[in-house]
């Protein structure tokens, strides 16, 4: 089976400074892949390469290949790439619009105008993000009135609304309390049936709980990756073992 996303000898530079070194990593479809590693190891940078969010940073360039369904992402149109590869950010960032409009925004920019279709999309996405029951009576109130955890689930629902194939999550729970975190983690498990999820996380427990595959990064290099239970029970690399057992990080 060919992986849906694949990094081949990927290096990334911010001006003179190299942030990723020769990373090769196949990401399997319908799996949850977690990237772990200490702060500044390049895991978020790698994630942001996938849908070319790094394009927004001046002087940033990549070498090597990053393939989406076998096609180099630099040959893809950045806009349609981001439609196929959605992203959930570290801090919940709902637009200052109503809950409904937050979710309808994506479909609208992609040309859907029919009110009924939009209504259906909004309801479906909120249900998928397990938020519908909490907000169904106030869909037209401001999204900024939601709690942090609800806002993050709204952001996930918002990214589902453009029907992506891959969802990138950049430490989606780092700004949330444990209960909200548990809800998001459950949600990630559900999403796996329909989507491919890549999650960057600080928390090894979280990686162990939600992911099928885990990659460990250190100083811009991918040290090793493998099936999550394998990685956590008997890592191959000494560095990985030290990190997992909490001896540094």
């Amino acid at each position: 089976m060919t992986p849906i996303l694949e990094a081949k000898n990927l290096s990334l530079f911010y001006g003179q400074k190299q942030a990723l070194f020769d990373v090769s990593f196949p990401f399997e479809e319908h799996a949850v892949t977690a990237l772990i590693g200490p702060s500044g190891c390049g895991k978020s940078t790698l994630l942001r390469c996938m849908n070319r969010m790094n394009d927004l940073i001046p002087n940033c360039r990549i070498e090597g290949n990053l393939l989406f369904k076998g096609k180099d992402i630099r040959d893809c149109d950045a806009v349609s790439l981001r439609k196929d590869i959605g992203m959930v950010f570290q801090r919940p960032n709902p637009f200052p619009k109503s809950i409904y409009d937050n979710i309808a925004y994506g479909p609208k920019v992609h040309g859907i105008k029919n009110k009924n279709t939009l209504d259906e999309i909004v309801e479906e996405c909120l249900k998928k993000a397990v938020l519908y029951d909490e907000v169904k009576d106030r869909l037209h109130e401001s999204a900024l009135g939601l709690s942090g955890g609800q806002q993050q689930r709204l952001c996930i629902a918002r990214s589902l609304a453009v029907n992506p194939e891959v969802i990138l999550m950049d430490e989606p729970c780092s700004a949330l309390d444990p209960i909200a975190t548990a809800k998001i983690e459950n949600l990630i498990g559900d999403l796996q049936k329909e989507y491919t999820v890549l999650i960057v996380t600080h928390s090894m427990q979280q990686a162990a709980r939600v992911s099928d595959i885990t990659g460990f990064m250190y100083m811009g290099k991918l040290i090793e990756y493998g099936e999550t239970p394998q990685m956590f029970s008997c890592p191959q690399n000494e560095l990985t073992e030290k990190y997992i057992t909490g001896r540094f990080g």
């Binding site: 439609k83 992203m87 950010f89 200052p96 925004y105 992609h110 453009v162």
Partner: protein, 589 residues
């Protein structure tokens, strides 16, 4: 001992409070004085006839005092100006906030701000010499002095306000929104138009209203290019028709009216109406901003009718970015044309004699030395009056006042003062200082009018400087047992000095370019000798340029040279402000 300290404390507090009160009382007094002087006209003519009467002919054998054509003129000129300034301004603001790389932005932003620094009389001068004759030649019409010319000029003048205020609003939109939208696969333009612009809506509407206020209140530039026939264009959309605004009527007629006549009272009626219009605009802007901030959109934009086919976002994107680049380019081109024209024609005529001699033969020969000195005397006098009051008011508002009723009243007063068109200060000064107090056309009257005009700016910049002083400094001072007034005088004000001085110097630049407040109160066209007698009239650069341009034929080289000197003088103040800010900040840290 303790008692004395308290006395002293409340005494000092009283001084600050009085300063703050002064600004508000000044507005009430000006409004009241104008109203009382206008009353005979309102009573005699009847308020309805005054507002809606079709004919303005105060000097006819049967004089008529209907100002409807002037009100319509003001509204049309302003609307035309906004039609030009809002789209261009927004495109430029978007370019600066989201499109331009940092280096380009750092070059374009000051250039746009430079447009704001050009004195309005220089715009008028450029309009008369270049814009109107261009219109006349290209459209082959009898005269280029028209609604169109006035709107173009006012549009250019309103641009910098709209650009810089909306750019601030756009830059303040959290970066998260942008990433979230792009992350959903929206194009850059979709992100800008559907997320970023709506998120900055309150700031942008404030920008538009400020620009509108500037256009409504402008006198000199409009008066010099609008043709000034008191008629309603017929048909109403005839943009080549001459037109006359409320401000221009005051500028043209006040100097020649005999005091106490019905015509005189009617002119004050116009000033009152002008003030009321600006007041309404200010109130409307507050209302709109508040509604938008509370998340209640005032106007729900109807969604565009769906086209039978979908234009690909890619094409929209291309078109939109082309628009953004073109808009910004147009703004820069305007600046280049204006400055280029003036400097190329003006520099050769700026000679040593021109700078150091008195004018001869109605300004056709000799120089403008007395005008340079007169302008400097006026602006430094104005700042000496405005600075202590402004600092006092700002200290009271920022350091003492809570959010009480009185504070909000004081703030409203200061807001009103800052929204007052500059010619209103001139009209007030003429009636009260020159005629009623019997000072005559005098240096002191001009200083006071300019001081009133710059007072709100000084209060605002001082307040910003005070807000930037870290609370920890105040706490440290209180912690050592210092009183509030000691803390303010010895810790807070020195720490805020760089901001306060910068604000003051910027105000000097603004005052130096103003004509409307001084033309009835302080200046004469020609004066052989330099005077520093406060009760003597002086010459001033902007007024000199105005009279040369409008009334003395065959003085083009002198006009250009005067414009160059005036622009340079204003620029010196702006540059000085920038240098001072950098230097003083360094000394502090």
């Amino acid at each position: 001992m303790r008692k004395i300290t308290n006395w002293k404390e409340s005494g000092i507090r009283g001084v600050w409070f009085t300063s703050a009160l002064f600004a508000s009382l000044a507005v009430i007094f000006i409004l009241g004085y104008l109203l009382i002087t206008a009353l005979p006209a309102f009573l005699e003519v009847g308020i309805f006839e005054f507002l809606f009467g079709a004919e303005w002919n105060p000097t006819g054998s049967t004089p008529s005092y209907g100002i409807s054509a002037l009100i319509v003129g003001t509204l049309l000129v302003t609307a035309g100006a906004m039609l030009i300034a809002v789209p261009l301004g927004l495109l430029t603001a978007v370019f600066l906030a989201y499109v331009a790389p940092k280096k380009l932005r750092d070059a374009v932003k000051p250039a746009v701000e430079l447009l704001a620094g050009i004195p309005s009389v220089v715009y008028g001068f450029f309009g008369m010499l270049v814009l109107c004759s261009f219109l006349q030649r290209t459209l082959d019409i009898p005269s280029g002095f028209s609604w169109a010319a006035a709107s173009v000029l006012l549009g250019i003048m309103a641009l910098p306000t709209i650009v810089s205020v909306s750019e601030d609003a756009l830059s303040a939109v959290p970066k998260d929104f942008r990433e979230a939208s792009l992350g959903l696969g929206a194009t850059r333009f979709q992100t800008i138009s559907r997320v970023l612009l709506p998120a900055a809506a309150s700031g942008i509407s404030a920008a538009v209203v400020l620009g509108m206020g500037r256009a409504i209140g402008e006198t000199m530039a409009v008066m010099m290019v609008a043709g000034n026939s008191a008629i309603i264009p017929s048909p109403l959309w005839d943009i080549l028709s001459p037109i006359r605004t409320l401000t221009a009527t005051l500028g043209i007629e006040l100097a020649e009216v005999s005091a106490g006549s019905m015509h005189y009272h009617a002119l004050f009626g116009i000033a009152v109406i002008l003030l009321v219009i600006t007041l309404l605009v200010n109130l409307a802007s507050r209302f709109v901003t508040k509604r938008i901030e509370q998340g209640k959109a005032l106007f729900v934009l109807p969604s565009l009718p769906s086209l039978p086919f979908r234009i690909s976002p890619r094409i929209t994107e291309k078109a939109a970015f082309a628009g953004i680049y073109l808009g910004t380019f147009a703004v820069l081109a305007v600046l280049a044309v204006i400055l280029g024209n003036i400097f190329i024609n003006g520099i050769p005529a700026v000679t040593w004699e021109f700078l150091t001699e008195s004018p001869k033969d109605l300004g056709r020969a000799g120089g403008i030395f007395p005008a340079i000195i007169g302008t400097l005397e006026l602006v430094f006098g104005a700042i000496l009056i405005a600075l202590p009051i402004g600092i006092g008011a700002a200290v009271y508002l920022n350091e003492y006042a809570g959010s009480s009723r009185i504070t909000s009243l004081l703030r409203t007063g200061i807001d009103l003062l800052s929204g007052t068109p500059s010619i209103v200060f001139g009209v007030f000064g003429f009636a009260f200082l020159v005629l009623f107090l019997g000072w005559g056309i005098s240096l002191l009257a001009g200083m006071i009018c300019l001081a009133l005009m710059i007072l709100p700016t000084i209060i605002k910049t001082t307040e910003e400087a005070l807000k930037a002083v870290p609370q920890s400094l105040r706490e440290a001072s209180f912690g050592l047992g210092a009183t509030r007034s000691q803390t303010i005088l010895q810790v807070v004000l020195p720490a805020a000095a760089s901001g306060i001085i910068t604000g003051a110097v910027l105000s000097l630049g603004r005052a130096a370019g103003e004509t409307a407040p001084i033309m009835f109160t302080a200046v004469v066209f020609s004066k052989r000798f330099i005077t520093s007698d406060l009760f003597e009239p002086v010459m001033a650069l902007p007024f000199h340029l105005y009279v040369l341009t409008t009334s003395v034929p065959n003085t083009e080289p002198q006009q250009y040279a005067t414009a160059v000197v005036l622009i340079c003088l204003v620029a010196v103040f702006y540059i000085a402000a920038a240098v001072l800010r950098r230097k003083l900040q360094k000394n502090l840290s």
